[in-house]
Amino acid sequence: MAISHDAHTVKQFDLQLANLRNLVLEMGGLVEDQIKRAIKALDEEDMTAAREVIARDRLINGMQVKIDEDCISLIALRQPVSSDLRTVMALFNTVSELERIGDGTKKVARMTIQIYDGVSSPPSARLLRDVTPMAELAAEMLHNGLDALVRLDVEKALHIIRSDDDLDQEFQSALRRLITYMMEDSRTIGHAINVIFIIKALERIGDHCKNIAEHIVYLVEGKNIQQRRNLDMSLATFAQEKQQEQEP
């Protein structure tokens, strides 16, 4: 049974659920903005902007605390079941993913400050060439994730899960390239390690987006496709059941 869109008899319950959803989306918007700001700061070698990203992470952490409290009070006072319970749990879990994505952007900002500390010479452009495409992919995954959450769009969520593999591959090839540079010229090692931290943070952001997508599938379908080793099985079963439901 998918999500019911009918109103609850107790209207206050609908209001609380809607508020919770809006708060999560607001937090998502904030995190999305943080990714963009962090990458812009790196591109433009802007230390002030990077420090701002670090400072703004507190906002995100504060929102997580607030939303967690709201979820707990909703569970305690309304005892949600079925799709309501899945909604609350999915939002609760999504928020913790968003908080970690926020940590990832903070990490990118920290590394930016370290790279352009003014002590050592700035890195060559080729060391940073993989960062922007990876950041764009990660930001797009998050954007799609939030979109899928608004629309409760399972197809889109499954697309995000697939995108994460692209991001993982990007990370692997970027890592190989960076290793080559380090082997060629040991003077690049310092910067290359910082860049590795950045691309690792971006790769982790992708993982969190994938988790959000899985929470959305759980929310809508009530099926847990989270276990990686079971993913193939669950997706196949899921596909089969979906198809059967569509048949008359």
Partner: protein, 296 residues
């Protein structure tokens, strides 16, 4: 492409393509009785009672429509649904309590083990000893606590001597979790007990005749939360020995005490499933709407 990407792609492709191995049969077992469909698996591996095509009429009114369900041995099954949905009517069919209502007519088959309980050869008194009942309001006899429990075994001739009867009364009160509270006042009237104690006395009275199935019709609706918790704990303990069918208006109670849940709506059995599944991911929209409080 990595192996995982290929795996996901294959899965996604499967989703879009028609699968030749999948027939028309749905993933959930659908039972069709005169076009009424119950969603979920109505059968169990070790049924204690098997009900098929059960219809109940109160005069002209068709109160229960083609209900088919198995009640598993040693399980607690909860019947939920809004008022007037037929859940209590169905419960009362299970030990022929509806026989006492003149305008009530029951059609269909209900088997206890292999015996058709509506067969002419069935002795209703014996049947009700095998399928006991606990009601919404505690209704002890206006007799002593001891006599309340001793009455059943005595009329069924289950014991021959007084010491045997004493033992049986004590054992029943113990199983109902009441013995500590009443052992020094067995001769006091049953009605002198508190509501929760009276209800446990009624359970002791029901289990004294060693039934196989216990039917409970909203057994906690007149009790406070502490007495309710004691009854729920008792239900869980009794499950080892008996099969329990409980009708309840409290969905939380159904979720807490039962292993399977059946949802009734306007005389139809809409959905049956594992309690866990019913409360996290029901298949039918009516079930979903009822348990999430969207019933309007």
């Amino acid at each position: 492409m990595s192996t995982t990407t290929i795996e996901i792609k294959t899965a996604l492709d499967t989703m879009l393509k028609p699968n030749p191995h999948v027939g028309k049969q749905s993933s959930v077992e659908v039972t069709d009785y005169n076009n009424r469909q119950t969603v979920g698996k109505i059968t169990v591996d070790h049924p204690k009672m098997i009900c098929r095509g059960v219809n109940v009429y109160y005069g002209e009114k068709h109160a229960l429509k083609n209900v088919g369900i198995d009640i598993g041995a040693n399980e607690v099954i909860a019947f939920i649904g809004p008022s007037g949905c037929g859940k209590s009517t169905f419960l009362r069919c299970l030990n022929r309590m509806n026989d006492t209502i003149p305008v009530c007519r029951v059609v269909g088959q209900i088997k206890l083990d292999n015996d058709d309980i509506y067969d002419k050869s069935i002795d209703v008194v014996q049947l009700r000893a095998r399928v006991g009942m606990v009601f919404q309001k505690p209704n002890p006899f206006p007799k002593s606590i001891y006599e309340n429990v001793a009455y059943g075994p005595r009329i069924h001739g289950m014991v021959n001597t007084k010491p045997e009867l004493d033992d049986l009364v004590r054992a029943s009160l113990e199983r109902a979790g009441l013995i500590k509270e009443v052992e020094k006042r067995l001769e006091e009237p049953g009605t002198s007990l508190s509501g929760g104690q009276q209800q446990r006395l009624c359970i002791a009275r029901a289990i004294a005749v060693d039934p196989e199935v216990i039917l409970m019709d909203e057994p906690c609706s007149a009790l406070d939360p502490i007495a309710t918790a004691k009854i729920e704990e008792l239900i869980d303990e009794l499950r080892e020995k008996y099969t329990i069918v409980i009708v309840t208006h409290s969905m939380q109670q159904a979720a807490r005490v039962s292993q399977r849940t059946a949802y009734f709506h306007l005389g139809d059995l809409i959905e049956v499933g594992e309690t866990d599944q019913i409360f996290t991911n029901p298949k039918h929209k009516l079930t979903e709407d009822y348990i999430t409080g969207r019933f309007g």
